[in-house]
Symmetry: C2
Subunit: 387 residues, 2 copies
């Protein structure tokens, strides 16, 4: 909360290095949204690894989580502020082996790393959408990804894979387009966001809303340091605590003070414990590479996530799934407890479709799907090769 | 977040009906604080139930939690915005039987319901302390309570009892003044706040800090609706989620929308789910009866809570305890997990002092100590009578 040299948005925009990004421009082929509106001139940013085979049967779609983007693998480099978010899982010889699979990951609709989102220019006037950007749902994200699949010539994914909100997208793929998904991998995710998950999301939204620099969503012309970065940083703190676990925080930070060598006694109202410095650091990193409106909208999409909506209930919705399924849970996940992934396995299996549940035994909480790559990777590798 | 007719502070102040409150004025006998400062002209507001017996051996001190006050029992009435916070536990014939025990509860130092706190007039100029109020610790709260005990003629408490931050005070009583505490009851609390607990506290503090209406702590002359109530409401949301549990939220709220009958589809960015309305309701209630600076300071006191500080370590500190001890945990408490109360029992017992651990089997999370009064009351009644 000390720094002030943040730009108003960390969104990628045209004119910056594209890095590994490729783009599909949908032009006048508007994307119809659940909210009733449509979006035209949508751009989808994506990255690929490996080679699509002749019968286009080796394509794997990876869906990213809240603050992820298309950069699943690879170094932090020009155009990409951070290294691949699933390094250790995706690459030559790794669990999602890019020598074998043609791997695709796109930035979600409403995101801020190349795909059309609230920081993108509105086609009417070329200025950022800001508060004009509509609420989007996970289904809307998947609807946009379908266009990408078409443009790539992928009629049927060998697998759609995702953790957290990525898993929500994978589930919606399997339910909405069952003929186009051979296999489904859903990690640390759920069929319907629960009241507690919604509550966490709502707190982050409120923190952003009370930041006067958010300006109702129209802050893109704000000077450096005058954007809504403080509200975003607080919202990120909430998420970051729910992504981890009590015992790992205790082991790593305990009651250590930040700047213990300095004169501060630790007893001042704003003196920081080490865990606070850690949370600040994560907030800092996010503020530099993300957009506050995207954070709001994607969070709302997760709260609205409910595979049953408009489908006659949960069991009815899940009867549409024809993809063999791997559901993975994390033993210490307080945000998406393991009963939610067991429920995925149970409902898919109830329809006679092959489904298994694997539990990652990790102390790291929800983020274990990003951290414990060995434990996550082995069942994933095996499952992909079985197909 | 819709209402705006809140006063700048919900603190009680002189001129309002006192209700059941009594007062001790310490005058020039300053209270020395851990932070190094002293407070003079301190007033302690307290309530009592029952009658102190001739040898002053039947006095029970109850210590309140974060947003509690001296009003443990009794109706909401003139001077008391809310009913007693431990109704069902304290009263004639109840677990803490006021026919048998002389029960005392005081508002903590730094509080806002009659005891000197940041909304109180500074003795130098008669205007509220605001940002001038020092950081206080749980030990400081107990130091002030010692003065109250002296003024009441209580040399030795039959028991000191508390849940959550009340339990922190009870622990500090037993460690700091072992000769004055016969028995200790610590419910849903800990010996040292953990990194995760600190992280939750820090998030609430940041939410208040980014509310421009907080004004660095000097907001007491703000007009109605212009005080820092939005930041306080967000901070309270964080606490409220950690006080409850996933399954109870699911059972009670599910994915129901607030105002489902209205035209809103639930899909607007600020449309509320029922769980959000519930959190708003709790925020509303708190804003009306609490003071934002008190909320900040008391939260910081909890984060600073560490019975080991300055005592040569945890085991060394706990060797001071001579009080027989009842530690109680709640099976579904995500904020103060039961390992923390078992640790209290273990460390007291390790010194050959009678200590037991009782677990409340409840789905209600941390707040079960306020909700499941039958389960909490029975061991408490038995333990008090054993003395």
């Amino acid at each position: 909360m000390q720094r002030t040299d943040y730009p108003a948005t960390g969104a990628w925009h045209i004119g910056l290095p594209a890095g590994r990004r490729q783009f599909v421009h949908l032009g006048e082929r508007a994307v119809a949204l659940d909210v009733g509106a449509t979006l035209r001139d949508v751009t989808i940013a994506y990255e690929t690894w490996g080679t699509l085979n002749d019968d286009a049967s080796n394509a794997v779609l990876i869906c990213h989580a809240w603050t992820g983007d298309s950069h699943v693998a690879g170094a932090a480099e020009e155009g990409h502020a951070t290294p691949g978010w699933w390094e250790g899982i995706v690459g030559p010889g790794l669990a999602i082996d890019t020598n074998e699979w043609f791997v695709v990951c796109s930035n979600v609709l409403g995101g801020c790393q190349g795909t059309t989102g609230p920081a993108s220019p509105h086609p009417d006037d070329g200025t950022p959408y800001g508060s004009r950007f509509p609420v989007i749902t996970v289904r809307d994200m998947v609807r946009a990804q379908l266009r990408l699949a078409d443009s790539l010539g992928v009629r049927r994914w060998h697998a759609v894979v995702g953790g957290s909100m990525g898993g929500m997208q994978a589930l919606e793929w399997a339910i909405t387009y069952p003929a186009r998904v051979d296999a489904l991998v859903a990690i640390g995710t759920c069929l319907q966001s629960t009241a507690q998950q919604i509550a966490w999301g709502a707190i982050g939204r409120r923190a952003i809303r009370i930041d006067p620099k958010w300006r109702g969503g129209d802050y893109y012309d704000a000077a450096v340091g005058d954007g809504p970065w403080q509200g975003l940083a607080v919202a990120r703190m909430v998420a970051q605590v729910t992504f981890r676990s009590d015992n790992v925080f205790t082991d790593r930070f305990g009651r250590d003070l930040a700047d213990a060598d300095a004169e501060n006694s630790g007893i001042g109202l704003w003196d920081k414990f080490e865990v606070e410095r850690y949370l600040d650091h994560h907030g800092d990193r996010l503020v530099r590479r993300f957009d506050t409106n995207s954070y709001l909208l994607i969070g709302k999409a997760m709260d609205l996530h409910d595979v049953a909506r408009g489908r006659g209930g949960l069991a009815q919705a899940m009867r549409r799934v024809a993809s063999r399924t791997l559901a993975m849970g994390i033993s210490s996940d307080i945000l998406y407890p393991t009963y939610q992934q067991r429920q995925i396995r149970d409902l898919v299996a109830a329809n006679g479709v092959e489904a298994e549940y694997v539990e990652v035994d990790s102390p790291h909480g929800h983020d274990a799907f990003l951290i414990d790559t060995a434990q996550v990777g082995e069942p994933l590798r095996r499952f992909l090769q079985q197909g």
